[in-house]
Symmetry: C2
Subunit: 223 residues, 2 copies
């Protein structure tokens, strides 16, 4: 414990540890996302971010050319994490296409994807996409990746039902299903307490199955 009356202790330089480059960059990006989620882009100052990362502000310039590049990398990391999580629900190799689609919808409408912090981050960054082409591209890539994934599962589901569909129809289904998931995701993030657990997922599955013209699975039928 430094003695406030001791001039030498007052001038003492802060102790520090040298971390690996990758680790430091990761920590700084995480601190940036936390700052943006809590106080918005205006509150995410270099000093706030550095404080949260446990370093001093000057260090940021050692890893990033400037604040803008740090924010862009943070957003890219966020989008990557979001789409990765979302698509993770699709890797059930053994299940039927319909079950995989249902699991996909369910996963996207529950924690950890329904999350106010992630939503705040998404909204804050996407609001700047119209003005910042770097952010716009990062979003576009994540979005198209997600929609292609949807389209692939839909194709499998319809094939399993022996329904022939042309490419345009398939695309429309994917767009609509993507919209259903996005819309319910927003509702869940913004007003999660208005819905009972699992309710959003149930609504989502029903809406998706209606869109595809699928009869409800037997175990989900009532009476």
């Amino acid at each position: 414990m430094p003695d406030a009356a001791d001039p030498a202790a007052m001038n003492a330089r802060r102790k520090f540890r040298r971390e690996g480059e990758e680790r430091r960059r990761q920590d700084l990006i995480e601190a940036t996302l936390d700052s943006v989620a809590e106080h918005g882009l205006q509150g995410a100052t270099l000093r706030t971010i550095a404080l949260r990362a446990g370093v001093t502000a000057g260090l940021i310039r050692h890893y990033f050319p400037g604040k803008e590049e740090l924010l862009q990398e943070a957003y890219t990391a966020l989008v990557g994490r979001m789409t990765e999580q979302a698509k993770a629900a699709l890797v059930m190799e053994d299940a039927s296409p319909r079950r995989r689609l249902a699991a996909f919808v369910t996963a996207n409408l529950n924690a950890p994807i329904i999350d106010t912090r992630v939503f705040s981050l998404w909204a804050t960054f996407i609001g700047r996409a119209g003005a910042d082409s770097t952010l716009a591209r990062a979003h576009r890539e994540g979005y198209l990746g997600f929609r292609n994934e949807v389209e692939a599962v839909v194709a499998e589901v319809l094939a399993a039902e022996r329904r022939k569909t042309d490419a345009g129809e398939l695309r429309h289904h994917a767009i609509a299903i993507n919209a259903i998931i996005d819309g319910l995701w927003i509702e869940g993030c913004l007003a999660g307490e208005m819905f009972s657990p699992g309710e959003l997922a149930a609504i989502g599955i029903k809406a998706v199955e209606a869109e595809l013209g699928l009869a409800p699975l037997e175990q989900f039928q009532e009476k």
Copy 2:
């Protein structure tokens, strides 16, 4: 034309006009929304806003207690305008419920509701809703008003089809349809050039009708 070499002209005070209170407040709010849409919350400084409104920064304090209150009023005005426009498509008194629902979906998936500027504003503000309870309340009110409107039309449509539905089912339909419109709205705002004119509205109408289990109207059926 002031002479730059003339000291008296250099010190000349700027000419101004006294505007009505309501007019000035309106102008300031509009300038605020423009600033936020263009440069985000960080770029919306008092000086930028004042410049856009054609006044000097000091005047803002004469109409608003501080910057935060100005932003809150601006967001309230935005939400009000959005829901008002969205609901305006429902006032076709004479049309059938189904036609009114279709017109509602169409109106919400075309200009001026599909608009990158409005979307940027919405995203920027909503990203702060998690931290600012005033913004959160403004959003909640607009959202619930919108969803109630949807629920009312859905009830009319189902009644016209002589289908009995309980309250819970009705609520689920409204939530799903709301999500479909929101999701497609976002897609249209963020990547409007990926869709041909009217395509989003067509997708939306089909998805909504599928959700409600309605057979396509005759003139929309193919072959």
